[in-house]
Assembly symmetry: C2
Homo-oligomer: 220 residues x 2
DNA sequence: CCAAAAGTGTTCGTACTACACCCATGC
DNA sequence: GCATGGGTGTAGTACGAACACTTTTGG
């Protein structure tokens, strides 16, 4: 290694998903400075001294969106030489999941700079963020099927209907109610609390919670 | 972004797997310079100007091991602030698979600087390379079960016994011959060539090849 | 004829699919 | 009493796991 190594700028970009109105949504921010000023983009920013990649992603998420607690997972690293007009900037993509009921926190950031978009109606995005988002959606869909990651969108106690709506939103197809419930039971994933919730002119639904403490359980 | 962003050094490190004597092996190189001089480490090196991450991994693989054609896939990015004593060095881990019969190429590199180690008898490694290797093994094992990635270890034509041996080596457990073959047939993964190969005092085996052109097919 | 690997089917349990009706509640 | 979502079971099919013997060849 006698050549002088190339120094690069390193960022993390976060694809933050949630469910609203039973639809999968993604948080985007409007860029306030060049390049791509005024464009929609993923939240993210430069890695700082003494900070790990995951710490950086968590910090950026908090700073740019006000989201404090979220499931966070490294996705993929994008480093094509010309992906950023400023020069050599490599980004480590993350994806993050928050519960719908934490979204009040979103108001803590400057209001018109951030917005939730339905995952299937996205605007044009800055840099290669459309590609990062595509990879994130792919990974999320796959993981919902073979792990319990989908429950990250739900509060600690939830009804089975809510759970099914979340899975349907992520997979973008409808599921059979009896099969969905049977599968949860077969996997021993949820346990009833005995308590019920009444939210309309119909029979009250039982509240459930995850049976295990591990946040995300891989099936099989 | 008013602060001045941190510049980092970026490397790729490659976990190169193969199968020899029906065992899963990993290629390591002995470091010729500090830090960790004399230690075993993964092949890899600094990303250069104008080079994408995948190109860097492929180049390092060629330069350090003489391996030209290999299946290559990005694994995970490791960026803890203190993972490298030289300063802030972030590495993008890759894993690569080569066929056993390409290993003659390995002699093209300086002989005692590189060696194959059984995946379950590894020496101490430099940096956080033990962790990178752990992640790579995990990913490889998982992927062998739900994709046709294992055939990357085999030549274009192979016997079913060879295919089974490869899968057994990766999974570190023995498989049932009839089930293995039935599963290949059910998936329509391989097709017989009609030709046979004779390699000992026993009935000759038919040669097979992959039924599809796609290098790696995901099941289900 | 012996050693060595090639080749081949069935049974069982488990998991996914499709599918329809009664129940509890508020208005 | 009616509208709304809550809750439940069964039959068919597909897939993975366990399991043993005959065939072909070289020596």
């Amino acid at each position: 290694m006698s050549f002088s190594p190339l120094e690069v700028l390193l960022t993390t970009d976060i694809v933050l998903f949630t469910i609203q109105q039973e639809r999968l949504k993604v948080l985007l921010i409007r860029r306030g400075s060049d390049p791509y000023k005024g464009c929609w983009a993923l939240p993210g920013g430069f890695v700082q001294e003494g900070e790990s990649l995951g710490e950086c992603a968590r910090r950026e998420l908090l700073e740019e969106t006000g989201v404090d607690e979220a499931y966070l997972e490294q996705l993929y690293t994008f480093g094509d030489p010309d992906r950023d007009p400023r020069g050599r900037v490599v980004t480590v993509g993350y994806f993050a999941l928050v519960r719908s009921d934490e979204l009040i926190l979103e108001a803590s950031t400057d209001a018109d700079a951030a917005a939730w978009f339905p995952a299937d109606e996205l605007p044009d995005l800055a840099f290669d963020h459309a590609e990062i988002l595509r990879v994130a959606r792919e990974r999320l869909s796959a993981k919902v099927e073979y792990s319990s990651i989908g429950f990250q969108f739900l509060p600690v106690e939830f009804t089975l209907r809510q759970a099914q709506a979340v899975h349907e939103a992520v997979l973008a197809r409808s599921l059979d109610k009896r099969n969905f419930r049977a599968s949860l039971k077969a996997r021993g994933l949820v346990k009833g609390t005995g308590r019920k919730i009444q939210d309309g002119p119909h029979r009250p639904a039982e509240l459930f919670r995850l049976a295990t403490d591990e946040p995300v359980k891989i099936f099989k």
